[in-house]
């Protein structure tokens, strides 16, 4: 045990795990400030939101199987896709990434006992849960839920065009989850800057933690803008201001600027955590270090910087933005994203690739994200955006991206779930879940690309004038059903594997600090810490003779 050092970080040997008295059961979940319990609460809530948002999607897809379907009314259809988008973006993807997994993992990955501000962390979760309930409660108002799309473009979202309480609840929910996100951003940034264990320098942090740091900074830059915009919108609706109304001298397009100034960084706030997850999973299951570790970090920083200057590529067809600038900036994002892509491939290259469920999900992520990324390059070109804007081509593009994130999320759950619960999930069910999810995603998106190119606009409840779109829509619905089955398989897997397969501390021969502690980790995360001399302290401890090679050369393990 010569590698165990620094008694200041041996928290639990002082008073022991059993001596940590506190409430148990439901009271523990309600009063906790432990980042792990909060992370679990986030995980469960976010997965429930994924299921609810998925149900909305299945209804939408069922409606579109015939050109004149009467399954839902036009009004209900508008509510459904608005809430599908809102639930998935605001309540699932973001909170799952920076609430659930980051909350659980970041302190452990840097060898910290908890987040920097545990009470603020608890507040974040409760604001988030309140936001979820607020948004969904729109369905129980007389006017129905919000129905102006998840982007809430003014002036459709003003009090004249959308008078219902559902719209106000939507705004309120976004304010709540927005503050939740801002507090989480504060917490992540402070934790990563100030609570790293001795030896954990910035360039020894796991890629996931690095990405969460950048995500945290992006949250702090972007979310306050959305919050301000929402307050303006609310004032327009209720206090007689005219910020977004032409009649009072306002400028409706200002909403789009504000929304997308948040919205495009938000895309990376959503994506970077999942990039981070995949960047952890692929090297571990290839038994190699992350290829191009530093390049990966600089790519993340570049993506974050560029993401603040590309918002108007969502507004090419408004005719009021400078096309060449935003086109060039948007195209440039392909470069750092490509670097990541090739680094993931490089991490597998000449490795020992183990096709566990987590690894399959990660490879599925890389392939699906490749499709979403390449179709994104088209959309950075204004002339091509003109003829695909607001068609199903866009819908297909961002569903390729977000379904890649879902694959990444599932990879993360299979990979880190054992650390969170102490038990592995069933690999057989997991692999069939992967195939349903992966194939379902492609069957779901490919017909949509074609539909977009054939001129089908998005947000169409009916398409009576062009029944030729029906077959492709049905194919897309089939894909959605396959994705639905994969989600059911996940729930079945959790039920079947419940406390069945003990994971042990390090089931995957992991690289980073979370695999050094117990599963689940004790109250303050560590009984002991290894020496941290690279970004793979656990690997170095378990395989001292297989340290990473600097620049492909044999050396004695010196890795500056």
């Amino acid at each position: 045990m010569t590698d165990v050092l620094d008694p200041t970080h041996v928290h639990e040997e002082d008073h022991g795990h059993e001596e940590h008295h506190g409430p148990t059961g439901i009271l523990k979940w309600m009063t906790t400030t432990d980042h792990k319990v909060i992370g679990m609460s986030y995980t469960i809530t976010a997965v429930m939101m994924l299921v609810i948002g998925g149900l909305f999607a299945e209804i939408i897809r069922a409606q579109l199987t015939s050109p004149n379907s009467g399954l839902v009314s036009l009004a209900q259809y508008n509510e459904l896709f608005t809430m599908h988008g809102s639930v998935m973006i605001y309540l699932f993807a973001g909170p799952f990434a920076f609430g659930a997994l980051a909350n659980f993992l970041v302190p452990i990955q840097i060898g910290a006992p908890d987040m920097a501000f545990p009470r603020l962390n608890a507040l974040s979760y409760w604001l988030y849960l309140t936001g979820c309930l607020t948004m969904l409660s729109g369905f129980f108002t007389s006017g129905g839920a919000a129905n102006f799309g998840w982007v809430g473009y003014a002036p459709l979202s003003n009090s004249m065009n959308s008078p219902g309480a559902g719209a106000d609840l939507w705004i309120g929910a976004l304010l709540l989850t927005g503050f939740s996100a801002i507090f989480t951003g504060v917490n992540l940034t402070a934790t990563i800057f100030y609570l790293r264990a001795p030896g954990m320098t910035m360039f020894r942090m796991p890629i996931f933690t690095w990405n969460m740091l950048v995500t945290g900074i992006l949250i702090l830059l972007a979310f306050p803008v959305l919050t301000a915009g929402l307050i303006m919108l609310y004032c327009d609706r209720h206090f007689g201001t005219h910020i977004f109304s032409v009649a009072g001298g306002g400028v409706p397009v200002l909403w789009q600027h504000i929304f997308w100034f948040w919205g495009h960084p938000e895309v990376y706030i959503l994506a970077l955590p999942f990039f981070g997850m995949v960047s952890e999973i692929i090297p571990v299951f290839s038994k190699k270090p992350t290829f191009g570790y530093k390049g990966m970090i600089f790519a993340t920083l570049t993506i974050a910087a560029l993401s603040l200057g590309v918002w108007a590529h969502h507004m090419f067809t408004t005719g009021v933005v400078l096309l060449p600038f935003f086109s060039a900036m948007s195209l440039l994002i392909a470069v750092p994203t490509g670097i990541k892509m090739f680094n993931w491939i490089g991490s597998m290259w000449r490795g020992q690739v183990w096709f566990s469920t987590a690894m399959l999900m990660a490879i599925g992520f890389v392939i699906t994200f490749l499709i979403g990324g390449i179709t994104g390059i088209y959309l950075a070109s204004p002339p091509l955006d003109f003829f695909t804007h607001d068609t199903y081509f866009i819908v297909a593009h961002f569903h390729s991206v977000v379904m890649a994130l879902v694959l990444g999320a599932m990879g993360g759950l299979y990979y880190w779930g054992p650390k969170m619960t102490g038990y592995l999930l069933n690999e057989k069910i997991g692999k069939s879940q992967f195939w349903f999810l992966f194939i379902g995603t492609q069957v779901f998106t490919f017909p949509q690309y074609l539909l977009g190119l054939r001129g089908m606009p998005r947000r169409m409840a009916v398409y009576p004038h062009d029944p030729q779109w029906q077959f492709l829509n049905q194919l897309s619905t089939l894909g959605a059903v396959l994705i639905g089955i994969s989600t059911i398989l996940f729930v079945v897997n959790v039920a079947v594997s419940w406390k069945k397969y003990p994971a042990g501390d390090n089931p995957w021969d992991g690289h980073t600090l979370e695999w050094f502690t117990t599963s689940p980790p004790p109250h303050h995360n560590f009984y002991r810490l290894p020496k941290i001399r690279s970004e793979r302290p656990t690997w170095d401890y378990n395989h001292p003779e297989h340290k990473a090679l600097a620049h492909g050369h044999n050396n004695d393990g010196v890795n500056a």
């Binding site: 005719g319 490089g346 020992q352 096709f355």
Partner: protein
């Protein structure tokens, strides 16, 4: 220990790899040569205006590059995953973390590709957003949930809601200048066969020009969510010969036509005077 044994094995692998890379690079070039000048359509339509055909060609070249780069990367992913799948639990591969030449290569090449794409984008974009002199001007007003087409300098008026699909009549082979406005929320003016769309927004006048290459009726509809009947907000563009267009335009010069025009324009200008764009109605391209 095994790392010392690896370098001799490395050499043949590397040779094989270069040969394979050369093959992969040769394939798309061969495909292009075979295809000659007729690139596949990649799912899009060639378009029935002059600018839409430029957009279509841009689309084709983007797609060719996407197919090459995407196909190459896809093959690389599958190769890396399957070629190097686990042989045994105990084998630990060489712990290579950096390969600077490769990293520089896959930074520089994408930058060069991006510069090329951006240059092509600029050329086509300048064509699409140019507003050349146009003999025909149409004022298009989008509203919940329909379209109104008026022709400055004439009494022509077409007006219709949802599935009535009002018809915008324009001559073939002539530049047509569109002044696009909205009287309430944001709408999207989209004609699939013209490979083009533009938002109609309250408070903003959007102008664009196109030149239809053939006669026929083209379907158009609103693409931007605008409320309850968004999915039924249709219109049509009817492209006729210039002579037929003049006949059509004059057919409104009847007492009934003039009265209808005055009634509609007065009513709508009172309703929407504060909503229309800031620029004067008679715009640059009009006669």
């Amino acid at each position: 220990m095994e790392s010392t044994a690896l370098p001799p094995q490395d050499a043949p692998i590397r040779k094989r790899r270069t040969r394979r890379l050369r093959l992969i690079a040769a394939l798309p070039i061969a495909a292009l040569t075979l295809a000659g000048c007729t690139l596949p359509k990649f799912g899009a339509v060639a378009g029935d205006t002059t600018t839409s055909q430029s957009v279509f060609h841009l689309w084709q070249w983007f797609s060719v590059l996407a197919a090459i780069i995407g196909g190459f990367t896809f093959a690389l992913i599958l190769w890396a995953a399957f070629r190097y799948r686990r042989t045994s639990d105990d084998v630990i591969p060489r712990q290579v973390q950096y390969h600077l030449p490769a990293e520089v290569l896959y930074t520089i090449i994408p930058i060069l590709v991006i510069i090329g794409l951006f240059a092509a984008t600029l050329v086509v974009e300048n064509k699409v957003v140019a507003n050349p002199k146009a003999p025909v001007t149409v004022d298009v007003l989008a509203f919940q949930w329909g379209w109104k087409f008026t022709y400055p300098g004439s009494y022509a008026l077409v007006y219709g809601q949802t599935t009535q699909s009002p018809e915008m009549v324009i001559p073939a082979g002539e530049n047509v200048h569109i002044n696009l406005r909205s009287s309430d929320v944001i709408h999207g003016f989209y004609v699939h066969d013209f490979n083009f769309s533009r938002f109609a927004q309250p408070g903003i006048l959007n102008e664009f020009t196109f030149n239809a290459t053939k006669t026929g009726t083209f379907f158009g509809q609103c693409t931007q969510l605008c409320g309850l009947y968004h999915s039924l907000m249709f219109f049509r563009v009817k492209v006729v010969t210039p002579a037929a267009y003049q006949v059509w335009l004059k057919s409104f010069n009847t007492p009934a036509g003039i009265a209808a025009y005055n009634a509609a324009t007065n009513a709508s200008s009172q309703q929407t005077s504060s909503h229309v764009g800031t620029k004067p109605t008679s715009s640059s391209g009009a006669n």
